[in-house]
Subunit: 346 residues, 2 copies
DNA sequence: CTGAAAGCGCTTACAG
DNA sequence: CTGAAAGCGCTTACAG
């Protein structure tokens, strides 16, 4: 218990010597206690306790050609959206006995190459991508690593591995249809960054809802943002600068952060929400519940996305299952207080 | 470039054969290109490219007894406070050529034991603790792993390794002194969870400021919270339930999340801030800037905390430096809009 | 049920 | 500057 030498010095040979058996038997006892005799098991376990022995991971990995480790690549760990997804992933991965390395991209291409190397060098047995693209290293891509891959949250079109996502287009359409149902006729869309797949899908749903309602699409109502609070606030200024007659009465933002930025800036300009203007977001981040008014938004089953993706990866890493299909989860609209009847019809 | 076999099958022997040298020379070329002849270097590098060879990490780690990997243990990755600290850590660790594993505790003791195992099994060369305590596994503690440890953010009293923190007590005292300077006489404190070191220090600073101002400490003004938004909102109800004559006119919260929860709930109850009541937080999380009014708060140099801690750990992992001293960084008060003159003296 | 031996893929003294 | 050989600490057929 007390004067234990540092791990580095205790090897399986030490335990074998102390318990009077071979290294092979120590190894077996630790891996499969029930296949040795009770007496052997007792002596080995005691020696393990006495020495504080822990198997060396490098030696084991080298021999077994397996690291019992998965890597999840997050685009930006500062984005609170991913925390709950990570929890779901972690639960699934841990339950299967694997460790989880969280890799934060943070818009750094060095890191991207580093994660490819991590995979190619055999340090992880599988990779879960939350970043919407396949990692590229110098002269090699993640796919060259030969480990199973699963993508979640941001779909990667045409990828040859399973993906877990929500129906972004359908959920966006439902959100905008809700505004239509409240009597809004002029509805704006606040976009994510150009080229982002989530934005593309949500925009498609926005347009589909308008078309379904028989409205014309007005390009001026499609305001460009980049998922940050700041562009949300800027969008409020854009909307307020429009002549009253053609100013939208509602806005659907491609994520909550922008919706909240819009909300704050609009309120600061004395626009009452939802009396004068309605706002709907996307994601249902924690803070959307604490806004005044609370934000009407699309709720993503974040933990489940993670859990499903984690389980898929585990199956692939264990060599089980062939080509797993992709999974599309439901993302219901949470009707809260930021969206109300259109001013004209109230 | 194209038909590359999966990494697992290409070994240093393959590269050696293809380039007509020994495995030892391939190893040297990759580790120290300048010590081989130019001709050798060219042939080896070409063979590396042709085969898509990447050294096997397990074999290298086993031989070198080093994993070139650090572990940072975060109490809860959902807490946005840590994102910027992690960025600082990552920058320092990466710059030294080490990889970084982010371990999320998430209040799960299984994970704690798993991280101890990770360290004891030789998979990491050093550990950075942001969780305020030394990890315990089953029958072994992190300290038994024999790898260097550094703590940051939450100090671990009496620990034998270097720590990086801010002067929580002094910063809290300055925050409360600011309220005193604005004429407030009845100032409440909203605490963190019982036993938390950050709470203890910040409470100490709160009391010191009151004592320095010649005020009496009133236990009823010390409201207990747990760092969450929700307890902040509850505290507003507690304060509002006090008789007007003895109700505090200002509150210092031990973190921003609670300060914002308080702010929202107080405003929902028609308390005007800062006209009727002043609020000061601690941390300067991103959202504190987006509140209405913007939150007066203590700004922690989060990125620098991470960078300094990361560099300390690198030094220890590289075997350099003896007993590094602990570091205490400055945390200035950001005077924004949520704290104003006390109602009585306005 | 257990042991002796091979081998996982590297790196590094040791010679030359 | 380069190669042959040992060895890092495990696990696992192969025998018995």
């Amino acid at each position: 218990m007390s004067a234990r030498r540092p791990q580095s010095s205790v090897t399986i040979a030490d335990v074998a010597r102390l318990s009077g058996v071979s290294a092979a038997t120590v190894s077996r006892t630790l891996a499969n206690p029930e296949i040795v005799t009770e007496a052997t098991r007792g002596r080995v376990m005691q020696a393990v306790r006495d020495t504080g022995y822990t198997p060396n991971a490098a030696a084991r990995n080298l021999r077994q050609r397996k690291a019992m480790m998965a890597l999840v690549v997050v685009p930006d760990i500062a984005n609170p959206f991913f925390a709950e997804v990570l929890r779901g992933i972690d639960a699934a991965i841990s339950a299967a006995g694997y460790g989880l390395i969280i890799g934060n991209l943070g818009n750094d291409s060095e890191k991207e190459a580093a994660f490819v190397e991590l995979s190619r060098s055999g340090q992880v047995d599988g990779v879960l991508l939350l970043c919407g693209h396949i990692l590229k290293g110098r002269g090699a891509s993640l796919e060259d690593a030969g480990v199973p891959i699963v993508a979640a949250c941001e779909a990667i079109p045409g990828a040859a591995f399973p993906q877990v996502e929500i129906d972004n287009c359908g959920a966006a359409q439902a959100a905008v249809a809700h505004l239509v149902g409240l009597g809004h006729r002029r509805i704006a869309y606040l976009s994510g960054p150009a080229g982002n797949i989530l934005d593309a899908e949500r925009c498609r749903g926005y347009r589909a809802a308008l078309v379904a309602a028989g409205f014309e699409l007005n390009p001026r109502y499609e305001i460009s943002g980049d998922f940050t609070f700041q562009t949300g606030a800027e969008a409020a200024r854009v909307v307020l600068a429009m002549p009253a007659a053609e100013r939208p009465t509602a806005l659907f933002a491609a994520n909550d952060e922008m919706a909240i930025g819009f909300l704050k800036a609009a309120q600061a300009a004395d626009l009452a929400i939802p009396r004068d203007f309605s706002v709907v977001g996307f994601d249902a981040i924690e803070y959307a519940e604490y806004c005044i008014p609370t934000l009407t938004t699309v709720s993503q089953p974040r933990r489940e996305i993670g859990a499903v993706a984690g389980r898929l990866l585990v199956k692939l890493m264990s060599g089980g299952g062939g080509l797993e299909a992709s999974v599309v989860l439901k993302a219901p609209l949470l009707r809260r207080d930021s969206a109300g009847p259109a001013p004209a019809v109230r």
